[in-house]
Protein backbone atom coordinates (compact mmCIF):
# COMPACT_ATOMS: atom_id res chain seq x y z
CA UNK A 1 0.00 0.00 0.00
CA UNK A 2 2.68 2.48 1.00
CA UNK A 3 4.49 1.84 -2.27
CA UNK A 4 1.31 2.87 -4.09
CA UNK A 5 1.01 6.05 -2.03
CA UNK A 6 4.64 6.97 -2.65
CA UNK A 7 4.28 6.23 -6.34
CA UNK A 8 1.08 8.30 -6.60
CA UNK A 9 2.85 11.17 -4.83
CA UNK A 10 5.79 10.86 -7.21
CA UNK A 11 3.55 10.86 -10.30
CA UNK A 12 1.63 13.87 -8.95
CA UNK A 13 4.90 15.72 -8.37
CA UNK A 14 5.97 14.99 -11.95
CA UNK A 15 2.65 16.33 -13.27
CA UNK A 16 2.76 19.41 -11.04
CA UNK A 17 6.34 20.07 -12.07
CA UNK A 18 5.56 19.72 -15.79
CA UNK A 19 2.50 21.95 -15.43
CA UNK A 20 4.60 24.59 -13.69
CA UNK A 21 7.39 24.36 -16.26
CA UNK A 22 4.97 24.68 -19.17
CA UNK A 23 2.74 27.47 -17.88
CA UNK A 24 5.08 29.73 -15.92
CA UNK A 25 6.78 32.49 -17.83
CA UNK A 26 9.48 33.29 -15.31
CA UNK A 27 12.58 31.20 -15.91
CA UNK A 28 13.35 30.89 -12.19
CA UNK A 29 9.90 29.45 -11.56
CA UNK A 30 10.42 27.01 -14.42
CA UNK A 31 13.66 25.85 -12.78
CA UNK A 32 11.84 25.30 -9.48
CA UNK A 33 9.17 23.35 -11.36
CA UNK A 34 11.81 21.18 -12.99
CA UNK A 35 13.34 20.32 -9.63
CA UNK A 36 9.84 19.36 -8.41
CA UNK A 37 9.45 16.98 -11.36
CA UNK A 38 12.94 15.65 -10.66
CA UNK A 39 11.95 14.87 -7.07
CA UNK A 40 8.86 13.11 -8.36
CA UNK A 41 10.92 10.86 -10.62
CA UNK A 42 13.18 9.98 -7.69
CA UNK A 43 10.17 9.15 -5.52
CA UNK A 44 8.71 6.84 -8.16
CA UNK A 45 12.06 5.07 -8.60
CA UNK A 46 12.42 4.58 -4.84
CA UNK A 47 8.88 3.26 -4.48
CA UNK A 48 9.51 0.57 -7.12
CA UNK A 49 12.19 -0.99 -4.92
CA UNK A 50 10.04 -1.05 -1.80
CA UNK A 51 8.90 -4.37 -0.45
CA UNK A 52 6.27 -4.34 2.26
CA UNK A 53 7.44 -5.31 5.73
CA UNK A 54 11.16 -5.13 5.02
CA UNK A 55 13.90 -2.77 6.11
CA UNK A 56 16.74 -0.73 4.63
CA UNK A 57 19.56 -2.66 2.90
CA UNK A 58 22.05 -2.12 5.70
CA UNK A 59 23.26 -5.11 7.65
CA UNK A 60 23.37 -4.81 11.42
CA UNK A 61 22.31 -6.77 14.49
CA UNK A 62 18.65 -6.82 13.43
CA UNK A 63 19.45 -7.81 9.84
CA UNK A 64 21.91 -10.70 10.09
CA UNK A 65 23.86 -11.68 7.03
CA UNK A 66 22.31 -15.15 6.95
CA UNK A 67 18.77 -14.13 6.01
CA UNK A 68 19.54 -10.71 4.59
CA UNK A 69 17.82 -11.51 1.29
CA UNK A 70 14.54 -12.08 3.16
CA UNK A 71 14.77 -8.93 5.27
CA UNK A 72 15.93 -6.08 3.06
CA UNK A 73 14.36 -4.06 0.27
CA UNK A 74 15.89 -3.74 -3.17
CA UNK A 75 19.13 -1.74 -2.88
CA UNK A 76 19.54 -1.09 -6.62
CA UNK A 77 16.87 1.63 -7.06
CA UNK A 78 18.28 3.37 -4.00
CA UNK A 79 21.77 3.42 -5.48
CA UNK A 80 20.29 4.72 -8.75
CA UNK A 81 18.39 7.48 -6.99
CA UNK A 82 21.48 8.49 -5.06
CA UNK A 83 23.09 9.06 -8.45
CA UNK A 84 20.01 10.83 -9.78
CA UNK A 85 19.85 13.28 -6.86
CA UNK A 86 23.46 14.33 -7.34
CA UNK A 87 23.03 14.76 -11.09
CA UNK A 88 19.83 16.72 -10.38
CA UNK A 89 21.77 19.19 -8.28
CA UNK A 90 24.32 19.63 -11.06
CA UNK A 91 21.59 20.18 -13.66
CA UNK A 92 19.84 22.70 -11.41
CA UNK A 93 23.07 24.64 -10.93
CA UNK A 94 23.59 24.60 -14.70
CA UNK A 95 20.05 25.90 -15.31
CA UNK A 96 20.59 28.68 -12.78
CA UNK A 97 23.84 29.69 -14.45
CA UNK A 98 22.13 29.86 -17.85
CA UNK A 99 19.25 31.81 -16.31
CA UNK A 100 21.80 34.30 -15.02
CA UNK A 101 23.31 34.64 -18.49
CA UNK A 102 19.88 35.09 -20.05
CA UNK A 103 19.03 37.79 -17.55
CA UNK A 104 22.30 39.47 -18.33
CA UNK A 105 21.65 39.46 -22.06
CA UNK A 106 18.06 40.73 -22.05
CA UNK A 107 17.60 42.19 -18.56
CA UNK A 108 14.55 40.04 -17.97
CA UNK A 109 13.66 36.49 -16.98
CA UNK A 110 10.37 36.44 -18.90
CA UNK A 111 10.54 33.52 -21.34
CA UNK A 112 8.23 35.25 -23.84
CA UNK A 113 10.89 37.93 -24.39
CA UNK A 114 13.34 35.34 -25.71
CA UNK A 115 12.18 34.76 -29.27
CA UNK A 116 15.48 34.34 -31.08
CA UNK A 117 14.85 30.66 -31.80
CA UNK A 118 11.10 30.95 -32.31
CA UNK A 119 9.60 30.42 -35.72
Amino acid sequence: MIAHIAMAAGFSLILIGLYGALTNRNILRMIVAFTLANTGVNLVLISVGYISGRTAPILDSSVPLADASARIIDPIPQALVLTAIVIGVGVTALMLAYAYKLHESKGTLDITKFQDLKW
Binding site: Y19, I58, L59, A68, I76, A79, V86, A97, K101
Partner: protein, 239 residues
Protein backbone atom coordinates in the same frame (compact mmCIF):
# COMPACT_ATOMS: atom_id res chain seq x y z
CA UNK B 1 -5.73 30.26 -24.08
CA UNK B 2 -5.08 27.61 -26.67
CA UNK B 3 -1.64 27.16 -25.19
CA UNK B 4 -3.05 26.61 -21.72
CA UNK B 5 -5.57 24.12 -23.08
CA UNK B 6 -2.91 22.16 -24.94
CA UNK B 7 -0.79 22.03 -21.80
CA UNK B 8 -3.73 20.67 -19.83
CA UNK B 9 -4.45 18.15 -22.58
CA UNK B 10 -0.84 16.96 -22.55
CA UNK B 11 -0.84 16.63 -18.77
CA UNK B 12 -4.17 14.82 -18.90
CA UNK B 13 -2.73 12.27 -21.32
CA UNK B 14 0.39 11.87 -19.23
CA UNK B 15 -1.75 11.57 -16.10
CA UNK B 16 -3.75 8.78 -17.76
CA UNK B 17 -0.53 6.93 -18.57
CA UNK B 18 0.69 7.36 -14.99
CA UNK B 19 -2.68 6.27 -13.58
CA UNK B 20 -2.69 3.06 -15.58
CA UNK B 21 0.90 2.39 -14.51
CA UNK B 22 -0.06 3.01 -10.90
CA UNK B 23 -3.20 0.87 -10.97
CA UNK B 24 -1.44 -2.04 -12.61
CA UNK B 25 1.54 -1.88 -10.30
CA UNK B 26 1.91 -4.92 -8.12
CA UNK B 27 4.62 -4.50 -5.48
CA UNK B 28 7.08 -7.34 -5.63
CA UNK B 29 7.38 -9.60 -2.63
CA UNK B 30 10.75 -11.03 -3.56
CA UNK B 31 14.06 -9.40 -4.38
CA UNK B 32 15.12 -9.47 -8.00
CA UNK B 33 17.91 -11.84 -9.01
CA UNK B 34 20.62 -9.17 -8.94
CA UNK B 35 19.41 -7.78 -5.63
CA UNK B 36 19.41 -11.27 -4.13
CA UNK B 37 23.01 -11.70 -5.21
CA UNK B 38 23.96 -8.40 -3.61
CA UNK B 39 22.08 -9.28 -0.43
CA UNK B 40 23.63 -12.72 -0.06
CA UNK B 41 27.15 -12.11 -1.27
CA UNK B 42 27.66 -8.35 -1.21
CA UNK B 43 28.67 -8.05 2.42
CA UNK B 44 31.16 -10.90 2.22
CA UNK B 45 32.65 -9.88 -1.08
CA UNK B 46 33.10 -6.19 -0.28
CA UNK B 47 33.10 -6.11 3.53
CA UNK B 48 30.62 -3.21 3.58
CA UNK B 49 27.49 -3.54 5.69
CA UNK B 50 25.78 -0.75 3.76
CA UNK B 51 24.88 -2.60 0.59
CA UNK B 52 24.09 0.62 -1.29
CA UNK B 53 27.66 1.73 -0.76
CA UNK B 54 28.89 -1.68 -1.88
CA UNK B 55 26.88 -1.33 -5.09
CA UNK B 56 27.86 2.30 -5.71
CA UNK B 57 31.57 2.04 -5.04
CA UNK B 58 32.42 -1.50 -6.06
CA UNK B 59 29.83 -3.32 -8.19
CA UNK B 60 28.80 -0.22 -10.13
CA UNK B 61 31.93 1.77 -9.43
CA UNK B 62 32.30 2.69 -13.09
CA UNK B 63 28.86 4.35 -12.98
CA UNK B 64 29.96 6.36 -9.97
CA UNK B 65 33.05 7.44 -11.86
CA UNK B 66 30.78 8.57 -14.69
CA UNK B 67 28.51 10.35 -12.24
CA UNK B 68 31.40 12.24 -10.71
CA UNK B 69 32.50 13.15 -14.23
CA UNK B 70 29.03 14.52 -15.05
CA UNK B 71 29.13 16.55 -11.86
CA UNK B 72 32.58 17.83 -12.75
CA UNK B 73 31.33 18.83 -16.20
CA UNK B 74 28.35 20.66 -14.68
CA UNK B 75 30.63 22.53 -12.27
CA UNK B 76 33.07 23.36 -15.06
CA UNK B 77 30.33 24.66 -17.35
CA UNK B 78 28.84 26.76 -14.54
CA UNK B 79 32.28 28.24 -14.02
CA UNK B 80 32.79 28.83 -17.75
CA UNK B 81 29.36 30.40 -18.31
CA UNK B 82 29.60 32.67 -15.30
CA UNK B 83 33.24 33.67 -15.63
CA UNK B 84 32.64 35.27 -19.03
CA UNK B 85 29.88 37.40 -17.59
CA UNK B 86 32.14 38.38 -14.72
CA UNK B 87 34.86 39.79 -16.96
CA UNK B 88 32.36 41.82 -18.94
CA UNK B 89 30.58 42.99 -15.79
CA UNK B 90 33.66 44.02 -13.88
CA UNK B 91 34.84 46.50 -16.48
CA UNK B 92 31.37 48.02 -16.41
CA UNK B 93 30.86 48.62 -12.74
CA UNK B 94 34.39 48.72 -11.37
CA UNK B 95 34.37 50.95 -8.34
CA UNK B 96 30.61 50.99 -8.36
CA UNK B 97 30.53 47.74 -6.41
CA UNK B 98 28.77 48.46 -3.16
CA UNK B 99 29.73 46.52 -0.07
CA UNK B 100 27.04 44.12 1.08
CA UNK B 101 25.33 45.10 4.33
CA UNK B 102 26.86 43.29 7.32
CA UNK B 103 25.28 40.01 8.28
CA UNK B 104 23.24 40.08 11.45
CA UNK B 105 24.52 39.03 14.84
CA UNK B 106 22.54 35.80 14.70
CA UNK B 107 23.90 34.75 11.34
CA UNK B 108 27.55 35.55 12.04
CA UNK B 109 27.56 33.95 15.51
CA UNK B 110 25.62 31.01 14.17
CA UNK B 111 28.17 30.61 11.39
CA UNK B 112 31.10 30.58 13.83
CA UNK B 113 29.33 27.97 15.92
CA UNK B 114 27.93 25.79 13.17
CA UNK B 115 30.60 25.65 10.46
CA UNK B 116 33.04 23.44 12.43
CA UNK B 117 30.16 21.20 13.51
CA UNK B 118 28.87 20.90 9.95
CA UNK B 119 32.35 20.05 8.70
CA UNK B 120 32.68 17.44 11.45
CA UNK B 121 29.32 15.93 10.52
CA UNK B 122 30.36 15.83 6.88
CA UNK B 123 33.57 13.99 7.70
CA UNK B 124 31.64 11.59 9.96
CA UNK B 125 29.08 10.82 7.28
CA UNK B 126 31.83 10.21 4.71
CA UNK B 127 33.93 8.04 7.04
CA UNK B 128 30.97 5.83 7.98
CA UNK B 129 29.62 5.49 4.47
CA UNK B 130 30.27 1.77 4.32
CA UNK B 131 28.57 1.07 7.67
CA UNK B 132 25.59 3.40 8.03
CA UNK B 133 23.44 5.52 5.72
CA UNK B 134 25.78 8.07 4.24
CA UNK B 135 28.87 8.23 2.12
CA UNK B 136 30.84 10.42 -0.18
CA UNK B 137 28.00 12.13 -2.01
CA UNK B 138 25.94 12.94 1.06
CA UNK B 139 29.00 13.94 3.08
CA UNK B 140 30.33 16.04 0.24
CA UNK B 141 27.04 17.90 0.02
CA UNK B 142 27.19 18.51 3.80
CA UNK B 143 30.73 19.87 3.47
CA UNK B 144 29.58 22.22 0.72
CA UNK B 145 26.68 23.40 2.88
CA UNK B 146 29.27 24.75 5.34
CA UNK B 147 30.72 26.79 2.47
CA UNK B 148 27.18 27.96 1.68
CA UNK B 149 26.73 29.16 5.26
CA UNK B 150 30.01 31.07 5.10
CA UNK B 151 28.93 32.66 1.82
CA UNK B 152 25.54 33.61 3.28
CA UNK B 153 27.26 35.40 6.14
CA UNK B 154 29.77 37.18 3.98
CA UNK B 155 28.81 37.25 0.29
CA UNK B 156 31.95 39.20 -0.62
CA UNK B 157 34.22 36.53 0.77
CA UNK B 158 36.54 35.03 -1.81
CA UNK B 159 37.66 31.43 -1.84
CA UNK B 160 40.76 30.30 -3.65
CA UNK B 161 39.70 28.82 -6.96
CA UNK B 162 43.12 27.25 -7.30
CA UNK B 163 42.73 25.39 -4.00
CA UNK B 164 39.28 24.10 -4.94
CA UNK B 165 40.49 23.04 -8.40
CA UNK B 166 43.57 21.32 -6.93
CA UNK B 167 41.45 19.48 -4.34
CA UNK B 168 39.04 18.36 -7.00
CA UNK B 169 41.61 17.13 -9.50
CA UNK B 170 43.76 15.39 -6.89
CA UNK B 171 40.79 13.48 -5.48
CA UNK B 172 39.60 12.60 -8.97
CA UNK B 173 43.06 11.29 -9.83
CA UNK B 174 43.23 9.25 -6.62
CA UNK B 175 39.78 7.79 -7.37
CA UNK B 176 40.87 6.64 -10.84
CA UNK B 177 44.27 5.57 -9.48
CA UNK B 178 42.66 3.31 -6.87
CA UNK B 179 40.50 1.86 -9.62
CA UNK B 180 43.53 1.11 -11.80
CA UNK B 181 45.34 -0.42 -8.81
CA UNK B 182 42.40 -2.78 -8.55
CA UNK B 183 43.20 -4.14 -12.01
CA UNK B 184 46.74 -5.07 -10.98
CA UNK B 185 46.29 -6.10 -7.34
CA UNK B 186 42.77 -7.54 -7.32
CA UNK B 187 39.96 -8.69 -9.58
CA UNK B 188 39.39 -5.67 -11.80
CA UNK B 189 38.82 -1.95 -12.16
CA UNK B 190 37.68 -0.40 -8.84
CA UNK B 191 37.88 -3.72 -7.02
CA UNK B 192 38.06 -2.82 -3.33
CA UNK B 193 40.08 -5.84 -2.27
CA UNK B 194 43.41 -4.10 -2.80
CA UNK B 195 43.31 -3.44 0.96
CA UNK B 196 42.44 -6.10 3.57
CA UNK B 197 38.68 -6.43 4.04
CA UNK B 198 38.90 -6.48 7.84
CA UNK B 199 36.07 -7.42 10.16
CA UNK B 200 32.55 -6.82 8.90
CA UNK B 201 31.05 -3.77 10.59
CA UNK B 202 34.19 -2.04 11.83
CA UNK B 203 35.32 1.42 10.82
CA UNK B 204 38.52 0.21 9.21
CA UNK B 205 37.06 -2.49 7.00
CA UNK B 206 35.63 -2.98 3.54
CA UNK B 207 39.02 -2.67 1.83
CA UNK B 208 39.39 0.39 -0.35
CA UNK B 209 35.75 1.53 -0.07
CA UNK B 210 36.29 4.09 2.73
CA UNK B 211 39.37 5.47 0.96
CA UNK B 212 37.61 5.77 -2.39
CA UNK B 213 34.51 7.24 -0.77
CA UNK B 214 36.58 9.78 1.16
CA UNK B 215 38.04 11.07 -2.08
CA UNK B 216 34.62 10.99 -3.76
CA UNK B 217 33.37 13.06 -0.83
CA UNK B 218 36.20 15.56 -1.21
CA UNK B 219 35.58 15.77 -4.93
CA UNK B 220 31.82 16.24 -4.59
CA UNK B 221 32.34 18.82 -1.84
CA UNK B 222 34.85 20.71 -3.99
CA UNK B 223 32.54 20.60 -7.02
CA UNK B 224 29.49 21.84 -5.12
CA UNK B 225 31.65 24.50 -3.46
CA UNK B 226 32.96 25.68 -6.81
CA UNK B 227 29.38 25.97 -8.11
CA UNK B 228 28.35 27.95 -5.02
CA UNK B 229 31.43 30.17 -5.18
CA UNK B 230 30.92 30.81 -8.89
CA UNK B 231 27.26 31.64 -8.39
CA UNK B 232 28.01 33.95 -5.48
CA UNK B 233 30.82 35.79 -7.25
CA UNK B 234 28.58 36.98 -10.04
CA UNK B 235 27.64 40.62 -9.80
CA UNK B 236 24.10 41.93 -10.01
CA UNK B 237 23.50 42.09 -13.73
CA UNK B 238 22.26 45.36 -15.11
CA UNK B 239 18.53 45.30 -15.41
Amino acid sequence: MIKRASVLLLLLGLGAVFASLLLDYVPSTELSLTATYYAERGAQETGATNLITAILVTYRGLDTLGEVTVLFLAAAIVGLVLSRGRQAGETGDAGGATAAPPAGELLSTGKDLLVPLILLLGVYVIANGHLTPGGGFQGGAILASAILLILLTDPMRRFSHRLIAALESVSGLVFVGMGVLGIFLAGGFLDNRILPLGTLGELFSAGAIPVIYAFVGLKVGAEFSSMLVNLSETRESRS
